[in-house]
């Protein structure tokens, strides 16, 4: 027989002392069977409810055979699922599953064990006692929760159809009467016939409870007949010797009918309550899941799944986007028309309604007080327990739930958009402030200088006048550059950069960028390295010159006067890189990407007076060329900006 041989991995036994007893600790044991998933989810819910921690355990059988190897993947899936739900996951090997579980539970202070009990025929349980029994037997102080598991179909077994049930009811009614008569015949010597009536009444009550009204009525009628024919003398004839028995017959029949009626009514009420309960439960499930669904896609998915499962039906949900119903999946013509009708008029249409009755689906508008947000289409499955008419009430309640969820999602989306819009507006205001500041600052200097010169009263020296003129000139140039930058930026942003591509000599390009900066570059060494055999990439000379000018201007702005500037080009086969390097302070690593953002300025103590546009214009121009631009700090100090110009478009 089985031997207890449980190995616990070292890391688990090293967990330390068992935790304090008042903390609930749940344990669920899984296998590769498809029911394990249900078990895991159930335990997760239980643990949530008790705010308990829980562990998922897999007992690896010793000497795992081939079949078990195949099973392993399934086990892994289950363990992963458990982990994602917040469980601690553990694998233990052992021969006796029950003993391994109990051993593990004892070591780790488990307070409750959840086990599944698959439904098996009774005789098999008798031959081989189920795991549950063994665990319960061994569990001691540990609580054991048993979860019953349907072997194949997770849905409740479909009941036989009402028609079949009625026929079998009649047959069984006859059998009941035959049985009652048999008993009556056996004991009629000892018991008075009036008391034998009670046996028949019993049969009627039984029929009423089990088979419903009509078989019960049949039972009552047959009972009277059988009673007369077999029990009341003269037997085996319908004739009655004592007319008193007529009262007995009447009473038996009446009581039988009344009982049948009462029981049937009670049954119907119970059935109605059961159905209502099921509907409430379905509605509750739906609303709970809808509350968790955040976006339209999730809501649609939840509704389709929930309503489909609750009513055993095919469900489709179409949501209106921009006032138009978006019907994606192919539908019958009638159904499309019915769905559109339901959407436009807010009335149900399609199957079992007066409009588009030929449609396969029943289409209900997803409607809130103000508007129709979509349409829910439903086609009951062949095996559905519901009739379309009786499901209508539930369906409409569900549709309302769905509509409310959709409306909520829509409102949330609008609120978010408003938020974004507000953020954008405030950003634009900030940009406008920045721009107006940059425009006004040079104007202040220019106006100031000119006003002094204009009202010249001899108090300013010739040197002072010279300085004022120089200051005004420099500021005017700066203003001009800024306006130029703004215009370039606008063109880049508007996507209006029309590239006037031509084959370009990189050396020429560098020369063009250096030319307007010659005066400012005086006193600096500009080291240029351009290989002689560079191909001619296709580019817009004007814009690309602007890129290099902006980069060189940054070198001038941010690196100390007198330090060298390097400009070099290199052929990388599929592209040409042009590199501009300075000996400035570089850029903090975290900002290397951000310097290409619009209006981003590096904080520099002297306020180098950039516009915060130069590099973002460069980026825009490079992207328009299908190229790229990036910055990095030089190891020996300073910043390196690398421009990549693609060679794809070159002429052969």
């Amino acid at each position: 027989m089985e031997t207890v041989r449980t190995a616990v991995p070292a890391d688990l036994s090293a967990d330390g002392p068992a935790p304090a007893p008042h903390v609930e600790r749940l344990l669920v044991c899984v296998s590769g069977s498809p029911y394990s998933e249900k078990l895991i989810r159930m335990t997760s819910r239980l643990a949530d409810g008790m705010s308990a921690s829980w562990t998922t355990l897999y007992i690896e059988p010793d000497g795992a055979g081939k079949q078990l190897q195949e099973n392993r993947e399934q086990v892994w899936n289950h363990l992963r699922l458990a982990e994602s739900l917040g469980a601690r996951v553990t694998t233990v090997s052992g021969t006796s599953v029950a003993e391994a579980i109990i051993d593990f539970a004892a070591r780790h202070g488990i307070t409750k064990i959840v086990v599944g009990k698959p439904k098996k025929p009774r005789w098999r349980e008798f031959l081989r006692p189920p795991l549950v029994d063994k665990i319960i037997y061994l569990s001691g102080s540990i609580d054991v929760y048993v979860v019953s598991i349907e072997p194949a179909d997770p849905k409740p077994r479909p009941l036989s159809s009402p028609k079949e049930r009625l026929w079998s009811g009649y047959v069984l009614s006859v059998a009941l009467v035959v049985g009652a008569t048999g008993i009556g015949r056996l004991v009629h010597e000892q018991i008075a016939p009036t008391n034998l009536v009670m046996i028949y009444l019993l049969a009627v009550v039984f029929a009423a409870v089990r088979f419903g009204l009509k078989p019960a009525v049949l039972t009552a009628f047959l009972s009277v007949m059988a009673f007369d024919f077999f029990i009341i003398p003269p037997q085996l004839t319908l004739a009655v010797s004592d007319s008193e028995y007529l009262i007995t017959f009447l009473a038996l029949f009446t009581v039988g009918i009344v009982i049948s009626k009462l029981v049937a009514t009670a049954n119907e009420r119970a059935e109605a309550v059961r159905k209502r309960e099921a509907q409430t439960a379905a509605l509750y499930h739906l609303s709970r899941e809808l509350a968790a669904a955040a976006d339209v896609e999730n809501i649609v998915h939840t509704v389709v799944r929930n309503v489909g499962e609750s009513l055993t039906a095919e469900v489709a949900v179409w949501v209106a986007i921009g006032g138009e119903l978006q019907i994606r999946n192919p539908l019958h013509e009638q159904d499309v028309a019915a769905a559109q009708h339901a959407f436009r008029h807010g009335d149900p249409a399609g199957k079992s309604t007066s409009r588009y009755g030929g449609a396969e689906y029943l289409h209900l508008p997803l409607q809130t007080g103000s508007s129709v947000l979509g349409v829910l289409g439903l086609k009951l499955g062949a095996d559905s327990r519901f009739q379309l008419q009786e499901a209508r009430q539930l369906l409409e309640a569900m549709a309302t739930q769905a509509a409310m969820a959709l409306e909520r999602a829509e409102l949330a989306r609008r609120a978010e958009q408003a938020q974004i819009l507000k953020a954008r507006e405030s950003l634009e205001r900030a940009l406008l402030n920045s721009v107006s500041h940059d425009l006004r600052t040079p104007l202040v200097s220019i106006t100031g200088a000119l006003s002094t010169l204009r009202t010249h009263d001899g108090s300013t020296t010739e040197k002072g006048r010279r300085e004022l003129i120089d200051a005004a000139w420099e500021e005017a140039e700066r203003l001009n550059r800024f306006v130029g930058n703004l215009l370039d930026m606008t063109r880049v942003e508007a996507g209006e950069l029309k590239l006037n591509k031509e084959p370009a000599d990189i050396q020429d390009l560098i020369g063009c960028a250096l030319a307007p900066l010659e005066i400012r570059l005086q006193g600096r060494e500009v080291r240029i390295h351009v290989p002689a055999d560079l191909p001619l990439p296709q580019l817009d000379m004007m814009l690309m010159t602007q890129v290099l000018i902006n980069l060189l201007e940054n070198c001038l702005k941010y690196s100390p006067p007198g330090t060298p500037v390097n400009v070099s080009a290199k052929n990388n086969g599929h592209c040409i890189t042009v590199t501009v390097e300075d000996r400035g302070p570089g850029v903090p690593e975290s900002e290397l990407e951000r310097i290409f953002e619009k209006f981003y300025r590096l904080p520099v103590p002297e306020g180098a007076g950039g516009t915060g546009l130069g590099l973002s214009i460069c980026k825009g121009i490079m992207e328009a060329h299908g190229g790229a631009i990036r910055a990095e700090n030089r190891i020996s100090g300073g910043l390196r900006v690398v421009v990549t110009i693609p060679l794809e478009g070159k002429e052969s």
Partner: protein, 231 residues
């Protein structure tokens, strides 16, 4: 300085009163006689009536395209035209130059730069025949001998490079568009083959420029063409 009765007549065409006023004041050096026109039609009328020696033309006119003004003038006159234009209108500049404008200046510009361009254009128009020997800094081109020297040392050029240099030398200080150069040197069929021009200019520069990355003689006008630096 020229004699008073022989002062060059300058026609200023611009619809902006502020710019008109600025140019009138800046050019009021006693060197020129000034006339003004505020739109394209009056510019054409003035070009006939006032017989200017040079026209300063703003391309953005209210009634007609500045390029069209140049075309109409070029139908009967070779008067030098200097185009004044804002920066983001490269296409217009090329069109204006191809239509026959002699030079362009990007607004805003400094007056010394304007005066230099005007003087160069006037000199070119007065000088009908190119001097047989052109000299700028250390570069000397003798068109009669087909000889190019740099710092007195002869430079060996290929026939195409020489033709190219000769074209520049014949129009010192003038912007020559890519299309114009290609048509003149290689023929109409090569107008769509700009890379031959790039390669030859690059080669020429390597032979006559001290630092080809910072050329002193043949200056690139990005997106437009080349200009041989005058004196």
């Amino acid at each position: 300085m020229k004699e008073k009765n022989n002062q060059p007549r300058i026609l200023i065409v611009d619809d902006e009163p502020a710019i008109q006023r600025f140019l009138q004041t800046a050019l009021d050096t006693g060197e020129f006689v000034l006339a003004k026109a505020m739109d394209g039609h009056s510019a054409l009328a003035a070009a006939v009536g006032a017989r200017p020696d040079l026209i300063l033309l703003d391309l953005g006119l209210p009634d007609m395209d500045g390029v069209e003004v140049i075309r109409r003038i070029r139908e009967w006159s070779q008067v030098p035209v200097i185009v004044l234009s804002v920066r983001e209108r490269e296409d217009d500049k090329v069109k204006a130059l191809d239509a026959g404008a002699d030079d362009y200046l990007t607004k805003p510009f400094g007056v010394p730069e304007l005066l230099a361009r005007m003087r160069a254009a006037l000199r070119r128009s007065l000088q009908e025949v190119a001097e047989p020997v052109f000299r700028v800094d250390e570069l000397e081109v003798d068109l009669n001998l087909r000889r190019v020297t740099l710092q007195g040392r002869e430079v060996q050029l290929t026939p195409t490079e020489y033709d190219l240099l000769r074209l520049f030398v014949s129009h010192p200080g003038k912007v020559l568009t890519h299309a114009h150069i290609l048509r003149q040197i290689w023929g109409v069929g090569y107008v769509e083959q700009p890379h031959v021009l790039r390669v030859n200019v690059s080669n020429l520069r390597h032979k006559i420029e001290k630092d080809p990355s910072r050329p002193r003689y043949i200056v690139t006008e990005p997106g437009i063409g080349y200009r041989l630096k005058g004196d």
